[in-house]
Amino acid sequence: MIISKKDIPAFLDGLMAEYRVFAPVKTGTYTMFQQLKAGAEAVLDYSNTKIPPKGILFPQSEKLFTYSLTGEGAKVEEVIDAAQSVVFGIRPCDARSIALLDNVFNNDKYQDPYYLTRRANTVLVGVGCNDPCSTCFCASVGSGPFDTAGLDLLLVDTGEAYVVETVSEKGRELAAKAGLTAAGDAAQAAAARVKEEAAVTSAVSTDGLKAKLDVNFYDGIWDLIHEKCLGCGACTYSCPTCHCFDIVDDATGTDGCRIRNWDSCMFPLFTMHGSGHNPRTSGKERYRNRVMHKFKYFVDNFEAVACVGCGRCINNCPVNLDIREVLADIRGSEARLDK
């Protein structure tokens, strides 16, 4: 199928009659995913949004339930968002991150109804990257500029129009509803050519990385790697696969609600016990855990690296602690398992 670029605003306006539509919108010097008020707001020739779109399915602050206390008991009402949504113009790396998050919110024992309900009711329409940034290393972590993991539809930019590839049944339905026309052979060929030409310039070798992480927990390299880290949450909040959260109450009188907020493993209080004991005492342990979680623990649990190579942590870090360099250093480190 195919859709002309000039038809995109009208196409989005059409979708908005039935769905909440989220797309990248220009805000200041960067782009952010926002709910559209008009189809014309969407920009598709962006590099990466400042903050990933994971917040559409897993908001930074989210009400879990409200309650009110009565003399007899407590009335608890869950707040589940079941609206139909379309995320338009999501990059393949971000879509892949959502496929990875599915593992977390639907684990071997529990299901998270907030995330999973939104996930079931959301169609992800991706746009491939003809021109990846210098910080994009998606191709090194099992993804690529036209990866379809997690997507329902993929748009390939061929200049005047997008060639639309169907990835899932959900995507097929959406395309059929919107009445997209079939793409001719020439357009198909153009799309294939674009895919071939797009090159990811940045690479980080991950050969043997997992094997090294299996054995280097006690290596001295961890004392050095985190040294310049300030311990803020810029990397975790701009990471599409980070999923840690905190749960707090907000109440006035007998009524209140329980809220969950994104949290960061880089903060000291994240793991602090009530007794004051902290299993991850310093920045060293916290940074090690972050790297281990993404490149070892997640692999052990779900057979995939919890990094999609979007490069946001590289751009957003206030001290330029570059994960590509960290991984290269780790690959060169010694094995040390003794405590």
Binding site: L64, F65, Y67, L69, G73, A74, V76, E78, I80, V104, F105, N107, D108, K109, Y110, Q111, D112, P113, Y114, L116, T117, F217, H243, C244, F245, D246, I247, V248, D249, A251, G256, R258, R260, D263, C265, F270, T271, M272, H273, G274, S275, H277, P279, R280, E285, N289, M292, H293, K296, Y297, F298, D300, N301, K339
Partner: protein
């Protein structure tokens, strides 16, 4: 889809000051209906998130045993927002409980075996649940000999004093309580848990399992003693504590290596822990 974040409303019927220093209170909570109770089927070793509406929720090991019907019991030290609110709570207040969460002590594995329970301080809660479970007339025949070694700084800090007295009188449990320093009026053992364990714990054989729960210093010094007595890592069972929020393996903070204490634990064998980093 069952929502694992929703608390079950319960009535806290008794707020009881457990220790002489008043830092630990035990709370008895009643289910509001039989259905609620049925939905909360648990085993010794599991924990639950107790929620004080308006303050938040915090995880505590369940101190009651599933053989005790109609209520749940928790023993809670006053450390944070939720536990402080609980300590100040009057009897018959509404409270929420979310669970049961986590795995349990390996009841099936313990059947037909001799069990040594070693506890220190106020980490005796889920151990009390296990001992009570084993001692119940319906279950006692399924298990072998039961030894319980329980230490505290002084007699006033022992939890469940009335019950300890009852246990002492029974012939189907060997209870050894110990305190750190001699005090007038105490005719039990005096000495730290590791030393006492060395004296009274049965040497390990194929048929014995040790379950240990207590403050880090006690664990650190008891482990070598158990090794000396011949307990293999597979025969030594521990219950971990880490800071938790969700209790269902999603919020990310309680991990020890790739395992989540809330979802994959809190009960691990020493052999399993040897494979993991020491972040607990």
């Amino acid at each position: 889809m069952k929502n694992p974040y929703l608390p079950l409303p319960m009535k806290m019927v008794k707020n009881f000051t457990e220790t002489e220093d008043k830092l630990i209170h035990s709370f008895t909570m009643e289910f509001l209906s039989e259905e609620d109770e049925k939905s909360f089927a648990y085993l010794p070793g599991q924990f639950a998130e107790v929620c004080v509406f308006g303050k938040g929720e915090a995880p505590f090991g369940i101190a009651s045993s599933p053989t005790e019907k109609g209520f749940l019991k928790f023993s809670v030290a006053r450390v944070g927002v939720v536990s402080t609110a609980m300590h100040l709570m009057e009897d018959n207040t509404m409270i929420g409980v979310r669970g049961p969460l986590g795995n349990s002590y390996p009841i099936e594995r313990l059947k037909g075996k001799n069990t040594v329970i070693i506890g220190g301080g106020f980490a005796f809660t889920t151990l009390r649940s296990l001992a009570t479970y084993i001692l119940h007339p319906d279950n006692r025949g399924d298990f072998g000999a039961l030894t319980v070694i329980y230490g505290a700084r002084n007699p006033g800090l022992l939890l469940y004093k009335d019950e300890l007295k009852e246990w002492e009188a029974r012939s189907d449990i060997n209870l050894v309580c110990t305190i750190d320093r001699p005090v007038d009026g105490w005719d039990g053992k005096v000495g730290f848990v590791p030393t006492v364990t060395k004296e009274v714990a049965p040497p390990a054989d194929e048929n014995t399992i040790a379950i240990i729960c207590g403050p880090p210093a006690m664990i650190k010094f008891t482990m070598p003693v158990l090794e000396e007595l011949g307990y293999k890592p597979e025969q030594t069972i521990m219950s971990l504590e880490n800071r938790m929020k969700c209790g269902i393996g999603m919020c990310g903070r309680c991990n020890v290596g790739g395992k989540y204490v809330c979802k994959d634990g809190p009960v691990f064998t020493r052999a399993e822990l040897n494979q993991l980093p020491n972040e607990y």
